[in-house]
Amino acid sequence: MKKNWWKIIAVVFVLYTLIAGFLIPVPAQAILHETIRNLYFHVPMWFSMMTILFISVWHSIKYLNKSDIQSDIIATQAAHVGMLAGALGLITGSFWAKYTWGAWWVADTKLNGAAITMLIYLAYFVLRGSIDEEQKRARIAAVYNIFAYVMLLVFLMVLPRMSDSLHPGNGGNPGFNKYDLDSNMRMVFYPAVIGWILFTVWIFTLKVRIEKLKRKNLIDE
């Protein structure tokens, strides 16, 4: 139980988000209307993705330092869960766009950047799948993973800030300060981000443990 305190925080925070996110009043804004509540669910997906992919690249660097195959397992599983969060972010964002901007997809720096990031990470899995030898696969994948994370930073953090965009938080604005101003929303949004990040990290740790058990079984057999 001592080791699991953060899982409890994750569940409590997400549950709080689900309840408060629907019940606490939000500012009435044209076009957005009630969809502004999506902020509690769509945006934390991207925060989760960036956190988990950071864990992934961290362990890739660790692998290159020490050649410990455990780090490679962690990096791979983290990339998997990162893609899950990213896919959910893309799909929810697409729905949100349909009902506010009027289209499932618009040629926007932020949106296209997110899509390209996903493709770069898909290539990471293709690369892994194409190499049979374990050590070689781990090393090449680790190097590629570092490249992928740098590209993620460029496509999601740098390029959208350099051009105007429909998406909030772009065109020179480092945050989504327009909504951040409302203290009611902040009370839900920050716990939402923490809760969702911890929740996805929990799923990721489960995946890592399963993968390690699998390897152990293979060695024992």
């Binding site: 899982k7 569940v11 997400v14 549950l15 689900l18 309840i19 629907f22 019940l23 009435a28 804004q29 044209a30 209307h33 009630e34 929990w202 799923i203 489960l206 443990r209 399963i210 058990l213 152990k216 079984n217 024992d220």
Partner: protein, 76 residues
């Protein structure tokens, strides 16, 4: 005479413009206030919370199963 008609017409036009502008200001942004007034939003919140609690329970059981397997693997 002609001038005063122009003035009246102009002021009338101005009134229309101002009226329409203020009407736009007063036009409230449509929110789901009906759902809140009737209290049915609570049903949605309960349903979503139940689904999340269900998923959490599933994750906890998975977590425990994996812990058990890890213990078995250690004792091997």
């Amino acid at each position: 005479m002609n001038n005063s008609i122009k003035k009246i017409l102009l002021s009338f036009l101005m009134m229309i413009v101002i009226a329409s502008a203020s009407a736009q200001e007063n036009e409230s942004i449509e929110m789901a206030s009906g759902l809140y007034q009737s209290g049915k939003i609570y049903v949605v919140v309960i349903v979503i919370s139940l689904i999340f609690i269900g998923i959490t329970g599933y994750l906890i059981s998975l977590d425990r199963k994996i812990s058990k397997l890890e213990k078995e693997a250690k004792n091997k």
